[in-house]
Amino acid sequence: MSELFLVEAVNDALHTELARDDSVMVLGEDVGRAGGVFRATAGLLDRFGADRCVDTPLAEAGTLGGAVGLCMAGWRPVCEMQYDAFSYPCLDQLITHVGRYRWRTGGRMEFPLTIRMPYGGGVRAPELHDDSPEAYYVHTPGVKVAIPSTPADAKGLLAAAIRDPDPVVVLEPKLIYRTARGEVPDGEHVVPLGRARLAREGDDVTLVAYGAMVPLCERAADAIDASVEVLDLRSLKPLDEEALLASAAKTGRVVIVQEAPRTAGFGAELAAILAEKAILDLRGPVLRVTGYDVPYPYWQIEDAYMPSVERVADACRKLLSF
């Protein structure tokens, strides 16, 4: 075990997986010489050479489209998108090709590529460095999506994504890149996709979250006078529906927390699943605490946009007194 920050665990996963499998390569903007703007790819260029850690032109769609071709040539590319919102040009390739190409070949070719990016707000950054684009990715058929909230999961989920035979998007919560610190297994460490983690057990209400909202929910749990369960989804697609329904059945009350805008966000999908499959277990409405349906704001007022301990605690109290 090593005590690592979340972003260091990402770096550890990349070193481990590149060393384990010669066909894994990393590509993206500033991933080589600079080692990534967050240092997530530090040391890869020196250790694995310029063929396997590639500074690409500034072209997200070209990078992801190039990765499709690299898969066809036998590589397992790991593409870094420098920031959440800078990944939008690559949605063209993701939607039109990445999620469809295996299907298009009648299931006879594999596209084992990984797209990873820092995501989310609260970091006092310029416009379009703060988005939570998970819904776009989850909505795309043929693609899987994972979001860690701890250093150990950041390593294990990224390793699972790289080894997965299907395309996987890994969103890394940049807000806690260098605040979340914890024990990370040395060497190979894989956290399977599709298994949620019970971050905290409780009986009265369940907080469902992922990414940087997990530690926020844990703080909210401390702030209210009730027994609160916190479910860290870890993987949005495939989704651990069993864990979601089990927790809903246990507490009968569910609050979903996401920092993305509310409408048609992933929380809406979770609420729909609960409505379809847990209706008789629920003692009150499924509530959502989310970002608002606005462009991500100027950073001087971003704290008012982001779900806060106060907003989560308020939703819990409402539900407990329903």
Binding site: G66, T96, R104, K237
Partner: protein
């Protein structure tokens, strides 16, 4: 170092006309010339029969490639089997030149699952529908082969309209900086459905795009199958020798509708179309071969009959495919599908069985 700036503007030609004598291509013997004829006739037959099949309701909407056969056959003949082809929908039947059965491509246009092939079986990528978005794939594959120290090169086909797309630019640029062994083959037929080339670009010639990527550009008569072959061979040799990508602009004129659903009379210059049809690519190559004494009517007739027969068998085989199983909805999108696929399939089976 190949000439990069300025790109050539003069169209390369081999086949002569009233004012110019025929040229010749080094390295092609009589049997090569006949094989090339067999390919160009197969594509022409495929295209003409497909329009008929569409009118008969036997295939769906179809993108016509009449007078594009020289660009496809000429360039493919310059490749080796290990080289990869990335077609757009305008090159839907290019796999025929790699031994793909016509039934497979006809099934694609019939929307039947048997029309979706394994690219690795023919080194022919899937048909790309969204314009220009496959250029980065071809760049990535070519670069990936180079990184693995393999010999294969790739060729990607796209039209004049595709050069306005961001993905064309990103793919061409990626190929340039990585030195990918790639041939960027632009079939400039001067129309993107109803948009003429003059509304597509202010550039004097599309080949000038090559200069911006620091790669050589070649401009060739797209209705001259021998000139296309020779130009592609030059680009492929350069790619295989480590010289990186080449942009080829093959200039022709779209003398047929964009697709079976299109009526170009609303926008096109009908007289120009008539003029261009007189110099269409198959007839020009036939004339060349006859002047050379390589082709007589009996050989030509035999080759046309073979192609017609292949198409008759192709449509019969495509129509003999059993109806597609709706359960295939859930197949093939993932190696390892989400659990919801299982319950959705069960539910669908129940509804379809009427229980």
């Amino acid at each position: 170092m190949a000439q990069v700036l300025p790109a050539e503007h003069e169209l390369r030609r081999v086949i002569g006309d009233e004012s110019t004598p025929d040229g010749e291509v080094e390295g092609l013997d009589e049997s090569d010339l006949i094989e090339l004829y067999r390919s160009i006739v197969l594509l022409r037959t495929y295209d003409e029969r497909s329009v008929v099949y569409h009118r008969q309701g036997r295939i769906g909407t179809y993108a016509i490639f009449w007078n594009h056969e020289a660009m496809q056959a000429g360039s493919v003949h310059a490749l080796e089997d290990e080289d990869w082809i990335f077609p757009s929908y305008r090159e839907s039947a290019i796999g025929l030149l790699r031994g793909m059965p016509p039934a497979t491509v006809l099934s694609w246009w019939r929307g039947h699952p048997s029309g979706w092939w394994n690219p690795a079986d023919y080194n022919v990528a899937s048909i790309c529908v969204p314009i220009g978005t496959h250029v980065p794939h071809a760049a990535g594959l070519a670069w990936g082969k180079k990184l693995k120290r393999e010999r294969a090169v790739a060729i990607v086909y796209f039209g004049d309209g595709a050069t306005s797309e961001g993905s064309f630019h990103e793919g061409a640029n990626l190929a340039g900086v990585t030195g990918a062994p790639l041939v960027l083959f632009c079939n400039n037929n001067q129309w993107a459905i109803s948009t003429p080339i003059t509304a597509q670009t202010k550039a004097e010639a599309l080949v000038d795009k090559a200069v911006g990527y620091g790669i050589p550009g070649i401009r060739v008569d797209g209705a001259d199958v021998l000139a296309v072959f020779e130009a592609t061979r030059e680009a492929v040799e350069r790619a295989r020798d480590g010289g990186g990508p080449t942009f080829i602009e093959a200039v022709t004129y779209r003398t047929a509708p964009h697709a079976t659903a299109d009526d170009p009379r609303a926008y096109i210059d009908v007289e120009r179309v008539e003029e261009e049809r007189k110099r269409e690519c198959v007839g020009r190559y036939e004339g060349y071969l006859r002047r050379l004494g390589v082709l007589d009517e009996s050989i030509a007739e035999q080759i046309r009959a073979e192609a017609a027969d292949a198409m008759r068998r192709g449509i019969a085989d495509a129509e003999a495919e059993p109806p597609a199983d709706p359960e295939l909805l859930f197949a093939n999108a993932y190696v390892d599908p989400p659990a919801s696929f299982g319950s959705d399939l069960q539910e669908l089976r129940r509804i379809l069985s009427g229980e």
